[in-house]
């Protein structure tokens, strides 16, 4: 028998993984070879996707990027080292070897819909540990690990949990924020598609720790694969009694409806309640009055999915990694114009330059990397001059940037930074929830003003107007959609001033 692994991850499917899987089945059948085909998540080496792995006595051996046409030759070569797509052991590929995989330890290895596989790879050890520590002990352990929310704001997870645990109520909720609206990010998606039980276990632990019996996973509608896999995983867990009444915790999957702002926690709660996804003023905090007015833990998916490993291996193991106040690991998502795009989980502290040039291998186009946007559409654009900035919450903040949800989008020297600044304002206008005037109307004025700058119309005066507008957005916005739009806009103007000095356009002759 031959065991072959082909990812079912949406990005792998987007570049042909299903066709490869079908070709594998067809070829095995043609050869009369006994085959077990496992559809895993992705290892996150996306430039090598579709990456196929075959089980050998020495461990798995990878090939990639494979197309359906390559499959017969792979069989003919008996998946040997002579085949040009041979990559060797995946763990030995430098991109993977350099990582510290904690949250992503299983992703790409296990069958995402096999609880047996999940358990065989350390699953449910964290919950057992939580039960032995007790609820308060579990909260304490999460606090000691130094885990900070991976949704963007970096708020200490243990402290959030303690607030909910200490608030008395007849009903409490755990809400997983799987809205993942930030462009350039996809680690939530990868876990849902590649290791969904890690999230289920993490939410179950959270429920146990704070005394909640119901959890919701709010997934953006742009992720149909993730929604399907999560729904399947929840019913499998129910069938095994790991979720549901007997388990003392149930989970329901809810689907967003295409609104970026619904990733903001209070807007998400309103959306779950069946309302327009508008941002609520704080206080009250969701930890005190959250979903349906009840105390609610709302955490990013990666925060929750990391908890089982933290408990299983102990808080210290996690807290020993990282730098400064950024403890543990961060799944860095390297994307855009980059040679080796993919998920790189590592302890905090790598410099941006290491991430882009060494790990990412420079640009895909081969031209110089000119700008890198870190932290999604509300993150700053960094020039090469800031490539020595370590990946760490405080270090990025000190340079007027943010790491957000860990997305790193690389642009080569063909990028027009005025265009990028304009896009940031346009995105704010499209996605504004409408509550604050600067965000709702100012953003549109900003786009118009940027158009003038780009046409070379009184560029200096108009740039001054944009700066004013950014000040208003920064201080007159209820949430970070309006409040952080100045990051991409102002960083582009500050670090790439040459792109904003445009000769006046000549009036086109009729």
């Amino acid at each position: 028998m031959i065991r072959i692994f082909v990812p079912r991850d949406a990005a792998a499917r987007a570049v042909g993984a299903d066709k490869v899987a079908a070709a594998v089945e067809a070829e095995a059948k043609r050869l009369g070879q006994d085959l077990q085909l496992v559809r895993t998540g992705s290892r996150g080496l996306f430039w090598l996707e579709p990456m196929l792995e075959v089980e050998t006595p020495q461990g798995r051996i990878a090939f990639g990027p494979v197309t359906a046409k390559d499959v017969p030759a792979l069989f003919a070569a008996q998946f040997g080292a002579t085949h040009p797509l041979h990559l060797g052991k995946p763990e030995e590929i430098p991109f993977l070897k350099r990582q510290t995989r904690i949250t992503f330890a299983r992703c790409g290895i296990v069958d995402p819909l096999s609880i047996a596989d999940y358990r065989a790879h350390g699953g449910y050890l964290g919950l057992a540990k939580a039960r032995s520590l007790g609820a308060a002990g579990t909260v304490e352990e999460v606090t000691k690990s130094g885990l900070r929310g991976r949704g963007g704001a970096g708020f200490p997870t243990g402290i959030k949990w303690k607030t909910v645990a200490d608030t008395a109520a007849d009903r409490k909720y755990i809400v997983c924020n799987a809205d993942e609206g930030d462009s350039g990010t996809y680690d939530d998606r990868m876990i849902m598609e590649g290791d969904p039980f890690a999230l289920i276990e993490g939410m179950t632990i959270a429920g146990f720790a704070v005394g909640a019996t119901k959890g919701y996973v709010y997934i953006r509608s742009e992720y149909p694969d993730a929604i399907r896999t999560m729904e399947r995983a929840v019913s499998l867990a129910e069938a095994e009694g790991l979720l549901g009444e007997a388990a003392g915790f149930e989970i329901e999957i809810r689907v967003g409806a295409g609104a970026y702002v619904c990733g903001e926690e209070t807007a998400l709660l309103d959306s779950l309640e069946g309302k327009r996804g508008q941002v609520r003023a704080k206080p009250p905090l969701p930890a005190h009055k959250g979903l349906f007015g009840k105390p609610t833990v709302i955490n990013n998916l990666v925060s929750l999915a990391t908890v089982p490993a933290i408990l299983a291996d102990g808080a210290k193991h996690y807290a020993d990694l990282g730098m400064g106040r950024s403890r543990g690991t961060m799944p860095i998502q390297i994307a855009g114009n980059v040679k080796q795009g993919g998920l790189f989980e590592a302890a905090f502290g790598l410099t941006l330059g290491q991430i882009v040039d060494e790990i990412g291998g420079g640009t895909h186009s081969g031209r110089p990397a000119r700008a890198v946007q870190v932290g999604g559409p509300l993150g700053a654009y960094f020039p090469r001059a800031l490539f020595d900035t370590p990946f760490d919450y405080e270090a990025f903040a000190a340079k007027d940037g943010l790491i957000g949800h860990g997305g790193v989008v690389v642009f080569d020297d063909t990028v027009d930074m005025a265009h990028q600044a304009r896009f940031a304002l346009e995105f704010c206008a499209i996605e504004s929830c409408g509550k604050c005037t600067p965000c709702r109307i100012g953003s549109t004025r900003g786009v118009e003003t940027m158009d003038k700058v780009m046409r070379g119309e009184r560029a200096e005066a108009n740039l001054a107007l944009i700066e004013d507008l950014c000040q208003t957005l920064k201080f007159g916005s209820l949430c970070a959609l309006g409040g952080f739009t100045p990051y991409p806009v102002m960083s582009a103007i500050k670090h790439f001033p040459e792109d904003f000095k445009r000769p006046p356009l000549r009036v086109a002759a009729e």
Partner: protein, 155 residues
């Protein structure tokens, strides 16, 4: 393909979810899946069943980009216009697509075969530029991918 409005079937859908907490979004999603859009008839029914005003339901429907008040074409192509895709020439590919199908963002071709919509990130950013055709992800798009899409949608 979505069916024509059917009051009984729609009522069934609403009642299936009605007892859930915050049932409105799941209801609207399922109604749209069944009937292709959230029509005024759907809004009237949901308002009645959930004891909301029509204005309240309409307010929710109009807030979210996903809900349509008119049915889309037979095929729906969502093209990512966000940053990682921009960095890989996504805008050029997107423009070529619009030109090829003779539509603007959000439009449906006159024969009703295809609706092309903008979207902001599909989570396929390491394989940019990307799109989604009827829920199926596609990435590393090139101008040649457009012909492939055209074949799939029969244009």
């Amino acid at each position: 393909m979505s069916a024509a409005w059917n009051d009984a079937e729609a009522t069934d859908i609403v009642r299936r979810h009605k007892s859930k907490e915050g049932a409105l979004l799941p209801i609207l999603h399922d109604l749209q899946a069944a009937f292709g859009c959230v029509s005024p008839a759907a809004i009237r029914l949901v308002a009645h069943e959930l004891n909301l005003t029509r204005a309240e339901v309409h307010g929710v429907v109009s807030f979210y980009h996903d809900f349509r008040e008119q049915p889309a074409g037979t095929h729906v192509l969502k093209v990512c216009r966000a940053e990682a895709c921009q960095s890989m020439n996504g805008e050029k590919v997107a423009e070529a697509m619009l030109k090829r199908f003779g539509v603007n963002w959000g439009d449906t071709t006159p024969d009703g075969h295809l609706t092309v919509e903008a979207t902001y990130c599909l989570g396929l950013c390491s394989c940019a530029p990307s799109a989604m055709l009827d829920g199926q992800p596609m990435a590393r798009l090139t101008p040649e991918s457009i012909d492939e899409i055209a074949r799939e949608v029969g244009r």
